[in-house]
């Protein structure tokens, strides 16, 4: 089996390392993460629609902190899954796709797609800085959708190119 270029491996391994570290942060530094998230919500009262009523503000803050922590959790799980996936998909592309330009496009898509889990870090930050709705919308539109689409397009293109290569060999 052929390996993909070093840049693909670097990004995939980096994402795995970030995913593992995010898991450790969530587990060992949870109180600090929660305090930081609460302080960011308090620093952006308008974005979160804080009203000055302790009961209401506590509920709003709690929801924003929950979403920020969920973003970290999604970073952890997606990075652990997508990192190996990009290495394996890159290996299939390197071994099965005979056309160099097509392989190059696949590597580019996989490299960009491998960064998808970092979109959840952006999601966490955006929720805290811009408020719940606006933060989720921004993270989805500008980070998660483009990066996730790159991974999906790469995998679909790989499947199509595998079929084309097979037909080419049997013709």
């Amino acid at each position: 089996m052929r390996r993909p270029p070093v840049i693909v491996l670097f990004v995939a391994v980096l994402v795995i390392a970030l995913g593992e570290s995010a898991g450790a942060v969530m587990s060992q530094l949870r109180p600090q993460v929660t305090r930081y998230a609460q302080s960011r919500v308090a620093a952006n009262p308008q974005a979160h629609g804080l009203a000055g009523s302790a009961e209401y503000d506590t509920e709003v803050t709690g929801r924003a902190v929950f979403l920020a922590e969920a973003g970290l959790s999604f970073l952890h799980t997606h990075a652990q899954g997508l990192g190996p996936l990009v290495i394996f998909a890159g290996t299939i592309a390197a071994s099965v796709v005979p056309w160099r330009p097509a392989r190059g496009v696949l590597y580019a898509l996989f490299t960009v797609g491998a960064l998808f889990p970092l979109g959840y870090l952006a999601y966490s930050v955006a929720v805290l800085e811009q408020g719940r709705e606006a933060g989720i919308e921004a993270a989805q539109r500008y980070v998660l959708t483009p990066l996730g689409s790159a991974a999906i397009i790469g995998l679909v293109a790989l499947a199509l190119l595998m079929v084309a290569a097979r037909r080419g060999r049997s013709a």
């Binding site: 840049i7 670097f10 995939a12 391994v13 390392a17 570290s21 587990s27 390197a94 071994s95």
Partner: protein
């Protein structure tokens, strides 16, 4: 021509691959057992919890005790689920990262150390969740978690994190030198 032999993968030691495959198999068995024996496992955990009322802070008032027992049982079940998820994931992570280390680490000593860290860390870490689940009925949620942290999650998870960042640095250096 698809590529040169310099672009070929080198296999990690068979022991690493075997451990990764066994880990994935354990995860699948764990997932199946969780579903198949859910009732028996819950009954066992409940009986152990009831036999240790002081450890779980049970006070003999049904309404209060049932809430405490429910919380312990939810965490007991969560431990199994997290073992299932992490073992499936870490099995693949071990295969991917040890392949990369075997192929890109030039020094034999570095290669061996990296593969040992990635394999031992990745394979040991998920079992912390099983240990946590097993300890909850005996020692409660928090004590069980502390024991699992010190005996499994911190040493094995730490090894895995150190190994992965070391590998990232090594691949980064190869990338810069290659460029």
């Amino acid at each position: 021509m698809i590529g040169s032999s310099a672009e070929a993968w080198r296999l990690p030691p068979i022991a690493s691959l075997l451990i990764a495959v066994l880990l994935i198999a354990c995860a699948e068995v764990g997932g199946a057992s969780m579903v198949q024996f859910k009732l028996e496992l819950t009954r066992w955990a409940r009986s152990v919890i009831l036999a240790r009322p002081a450890m779980h802070g049970l006070v003999g008032v049904r309404d209060v005790d049932e809430q405490v027992i429910d919380e312990a049982l939810v965490k007991f079940d969560a431990g199994f689920r997290l073992f299932h998820l992490h073992a499936e994931g870490m099995g693949l992570v071990i295969i991917a990262t040890t392949m990369t280390a075997a192929t890109l680490a030039r020094s034999a000593t570095t290669r061996r150390a990296l593969i040992a860290l990635l394999t031992a860390g990745g394979a040991g870490y998920p079992f912390g969740y099983l240990l946590w689940s097993a300890l909850i009925p005996y020692y409660g949620i928090q004590t069980g978690k502390t024991l699992a942290e010190w005996f499994v999650w911190i040493p094995f998870g730490g090894a895995s994190i150190v190994g992965t960042w070391w590998l990232t640095a090594l691949v980064g250096v190869r990338l810069v030198r290659g460029a």
